[in-house]
Symmetry: C2
Amino acid sequence: MSPRFTDLVAHLPASVPFVGPETQERARGRRFRARIGANENGFGPSPLAIEAMRRAAADIWKYADPENHELREAIAARHGVRLDNVVVGEGIDGLLGLAVRLVVAPGTKVVTSLGAYPTFNFHVAGFGGDLVRVPYAHDREDWRGLLDAARQCGAALIYLANPDNPMGTWWPAADIEAMAAAVPERALVCLDEAYVDFMDASLEPRIDIESSRVIRFRTFSKAFGMAGARIGYALGPAGVMREFEKIRNHYGVNLVAQAGALASLGDAGHLPRIRSAVAAARDRIGAIVGTHGLAVLPSATNFVAVDTGRDGAFARRLLDGLLARDVFVRMPGVAPLDRTIRIGCGLDSELDVPAAELPAALDAACQT
Amino acid sequence: MSPRFTDLVAHLPASVPFVGPETQERARGRRFRARIGANENGFGPSPLAIEAMRRAAADIWKYADPENHELREAIAARHGVRLDNVVVGEGIDGLLGLAVRLVVAPGTKVVTSLGAYPTFNFHVAGFGGDLVRVPYAHDREDWRGLLDAARQCGAALIYLANPDNPMGTWWPAADIEAMAAAVPERALVCLDEAYVDFMDASLEPRIDIESSRVIRFRTFSKAFGMAGARIGYALGPAGVMREFEKIRNHYGVNLVAQAGALASLGDAGHLPRIRSAVAAARDRIGAIVGTHGLAVLPSATNFVAVDTGRDGAFARRLLDGLLARDVFVRMPGVAPLDRTIRIGCGLDSELDVPAAELPAALDAACQT
């Protein structure tokens, strides 16, 4: 007889948020030539971070400081907040899971956008929450619509990514600030800012974190180029951050990741270098697809949503054609976002692959 | 008005399982001279693991394979189990949290030993479980008593560490095998084997993992010397391991940790070297405290429970005296285990510190 899994677990679907490129490579029996599908940053981390991680490897016999004190001090200084406004965790994925667990019990209403980050939905389902999905408006997450829906259903939690994944679009700071000021009473907003470091810091929303009902999620995975390190942080009111302490895996963050993250923050030149490289790669992606009559959506991230101008079935065929030609890319899962495919920024040598393979993939998609 | 935290979270205590030595150092304003209180392995990881981690640092821009495929293959080969009997996670702490989440809902009965691993209890409380605590018997976790209690209260989950932490004691393989054969119907056993690699592999219990209701938890933190990497694994029936997929943080494991763990398993000489160094350090700890009339409990781990022969108040004074003299050690929290203090194995240069400071700490404890 099987063990007594909770009712919640017994009824969860077996689906996982993302199948990794390695799984696809094992199924195909060969490697991708361009790894530009998971919004990783092929330009890499700061050399200072790599050096710090190499040094830290010799200290790996020690548990990392479970309070992540030194790193939290650097983060607090970066954002002009207090130490108790900062929680460090195993990437935004891990931190979102904790945020969901804090407020979601079976039946709790949670609002997100239809087609937004699947891992957030995975966590909400995992704690029995009831997801309400608001359509994108003109390829942007509709923050007013999200707030309206939250008011109507009495949501405890609202998710918004800015800039957005998978579309790459964004709201100006004033909109996010207006949203933060209008959060329905007793609700919390998860503001996923995984990609915000690709924008100039002067364009970031200004939110008085202590007086808000917003948790901002940041990561070292994207602009800081350390996706494999699994380290990110949340900024929020001290009274909310304190609740994370009750449930988080206190020894969950890798010592090498802590060292790399701290060194990253100390390299003032890193983000400007990355922003410039990413902007050039976005332009090149636009040029590559433009040659074949495809448009790109404006992007504030390190990926570009390429508008096929056709439907999801066509985009899926184009995606499959690129995958078959060793280009690892992904696409949104729902209409109307699924008319696009998402091409990530990468080194010129990686973008050479879709540049060479796109014509044949397009031909194949058109002929089916 | 505060956000709507779940009832469960709102009623959780704010306590954390372990205060780290770094926190104590910040409070003291000075570093410890001997870091032998967290059961870390100061002899360190395999040199091959350090080398692999240093190499992997340059690949940190990639997410690690969320299926941990290559590492799981090596683990499956090591234990003679199938790939679907293995789940890799963020250390045993993280994996225990998932196991608890799979079966514990508010009010679910869970059985453990009075004085056993606090982090397990932290997870059980975090999901609203109702802990039943069975006293140690002769400084060992009482596996028969645990099973009896589980039968009586209808527990869904039973925790046993073998070898035990904090006492260092262990059961012969035959006992653990007898326990695995007698698990009450529909219950699951969390068999925490964090320290089992310090014993010769021939002494390990043999459990047919697929036909059992046992999840074995292993780690790279202890004998493999990679506590800071946060990587461990669970071995269990495929039908149970499959449920972990529904709730785990699929991208939770650090890429550098994966590389280090894989390289560790490839170094056949590592565990024998560590076992020999640890055995010598245990002997030295016995000699250091024996000079002052204190006995040690037999230990199969990389720490030794030193029996003060007095009560918890005395042991606490002795511990405080050692901490004040820059020796980071810990002690069990409940009677009668708390008559002991726990001294970890370490390099000779570290053990020199308690060797020098014990007399004064003992004098101070006796005079109060």
